[in-house]
């Protein structure tokens, strides 16, 4: 396992460098830079552009240097924890992201927990009671979860929660806590507001997970070893939980790879509709306004979290399923 971890880490380093370089250069692809956009905006408003100040900013952030040099300056600063300056918000990137990252982590964690807690028992029930009334009912609900667009479900739930419980429309906390330091009251307010986005974002994921768990578990339940185990008198529950379920867990483990990048970009449209103070809308706005340091930092974090997530799921999968695939051309 140690050799596997080191080799996976070795693969990860150039991947990360390549993705960070691609992210940075993609940000640079549109003609001009943020300062050019700023000049155009000022001119369109009939204001004279302060060319002296523009030139000063251009030199300060190295925008007048060759692209490759800009990239290494950006990467070196990122390693120091300085992700640059958001031209749009006129604040350091770390300050702009600040609280939003914490809220996004809380939301993603809660949503993942919701998906697993709901999908796990339902998936097992649907597989072990195939073609029963319960299976049909749950399958129908699953298809509904797939079919209903998240933003539509979000609007409906916002209305219902407001009518039934008096919860504020949108947001992840009561208005008085926005931009305030974290406190117990703010934390409780966040928890109260979590229910709507967790259900909205988690519904499609839950439906997908139920379908996959059911299909995988059905495959395992028809295998010879499970039937033999039952024939030899192993209790059904123990036989189910110990062997087929373990094999059917692979998609859950593989999904860890996609959970981490969701911390940044997950459910952007839902976040915009529900007015959530998460990082998704910030990323969208940074890309729209060509706020290069903010957008570039987001893309770097996305790449980093994707690579780390895939590393974690690969390590777990290697532990769970260390089988050769016959005909796979292994080194013997």
């Amino acid at each position: 396992m140690f050799g596997y971890i080191v080799r996976r880490l070795f693969v990860m380093i150039p991947t990360l460098l390549a993705i960070s370089a691609i992210s940075f250069f993609i940000i640079q692809l549109p003609p001009g830079d943020f300062l050019t956009t700023l000049i155009n905006e000022q001119l369109s408003r009939g204001e004279g552009a302060d060319m002296g100040n523009i030139e000063r900013l251009r030199q300060l952030y190295g925008l007048d240097r060759p692209l490759i040099e800009q990239y290494f300056i950006w990467l070196g600063n990122a390693l120091r924890g300085d992700f640059g300056y958001s031209f749009e918000y006129e604040l350091p990137v770390t300050t702009v992201v600040g609280d939003r990252m914490f809220l996004t982590v809380v939301l993603t964690f809660a949503t993942t927990l919701f998906i697993w807690i709901v999908a796990f028992p339902i998936g097992i029930y649907a597989a072990t009671h195939q073609y029963s009334a319960g299976d049909y009912a749950l399958t129908f609900i699953g298809f509904l979860g797939f079919a209903v667009p998240n933003f539509l479900l979000g609007l409906v739930l916002m209305y219902l929660f407001n009518v039934w419980f008096g919860t504020d429309i949108g947001g992840l906390m009561d208005r008085q806590y926005i931009d305030q330091p974290m406190s117990w009251a703010k934390f409780v307010s966040v928890l109260e507001h979590l229910l709507t986005p967790v259900i909205v974002i988690g519904t499609a994921g839950t439906a997908a997970m139920i379908r996959r768990l059911r299909a995988n578990l059905l495959d395992e339940l028809q295998k010879q070893y499970y039937i033999t185990a039952l024939a030899k008198g192993l209790p059904r529950r123990r036989a189910l939980l110990k062997y087929p379920l373990r094999s059917a867990l692979n998609p859950f483990i593989a999904d860890i790879g996609s959970i981490l990048p969701d911390l940044i970009s997950g459910a952007t449209i839902v976040s915009v509709v529900l007015n959530l103070q998460t990082t998704g809308p910030l990323l969208l706005s940074a890309l729209q306004s060509q706020d290069m340091f903010l957008a570039g930092s987001f893309l770097l974090w996305l790449a980093l979290l994707t690579v780390i997530g895939v590393l974690i799921s690969d390590l777990l999968l290697a532990m769970l399923d260390p089988r050769i695939r016959l005909g796979g051309g292994a080194v013997k």
Partner: protein, 178 residues
């Protein structure tokens, strides 16, 4: 019979370890990195350094197999397990590719006295070692995991028909713990 690790495979490991160590150590030396980045890079550098040390140990290793036992002579790791004492056999497969091709195997043997040895498939003559170890495991009727049995089959080892799914009850007992 005596076996050694394939030098070209070891050269590849030296390359990976050295390149990885350089890529993680250089930023630590050249840049005043953020504390979180520092600990991540330092941990990765330690892993690569340990990997280099392990590759050197493998280069010096000689695996000796005879009718009575298997033994490894290596710096700080001389081990010997009699075939009659083998209590665990685990054969695992690892690949860093998404299609799981081009990987390598990892044989773990444990003796009754707790002695453990791990051998990778870039040992020249690995198939022969696995074949002999499997004979010992079958003779002692050791419980084998599904993965181990499938990997043995892929190496051309024939599994006795009485070592079937009914052995599953014990498969947790021989999980590799490295």
């Amino acid at each position: 019979m005596q076996y050694r690790y394939d030098q070209s495979a070891l050269n590849g490991d030296y390359g990976r370890g050295g390149f990885g160590l350089a890529l993680t150590l250089l930023p630590l030396i050249l840049i005043d990195v953020h504390p979180i980045v520092f600990w991540c890079l330092a941990a990765a550098a330690l892993l690569f350094a340990a990997f280099l040390a392990r590759t050197y140990q493998r280069q010096q290793s000689i695996v000796a197999v005879d009718d009575d036992a298997i033994a490894i002579e290596a710096p700080f790791a001389n081990r010997r397990i009699a075939w009659s004492d083998v209590s665990v056999l685990n054969l695992r497969y690892f690949s860093t590719r998404r299609d799981r091709k081009g990987g390598w195997m990892h044989l773990t043997l444990k003796g009754e006295d707790g002695t453990a040895m791990k051998i990778e498939s870039n040992l020249i003559g690995f198939d022969g070692v696995v074949d002999r170890a499997a004979d010992a495991a079958f003779a002692r009727r050791l419980p084998l995991t599904d993965a181990t049995m499938e990997n043995l089959v892929s190496l051309g080892v024939t599994i006795p028909s009485d070592l079937g799914p009914d052995r599953h009850d014990d498969r947790d007992g021989d999980r590799d713990d490295d």
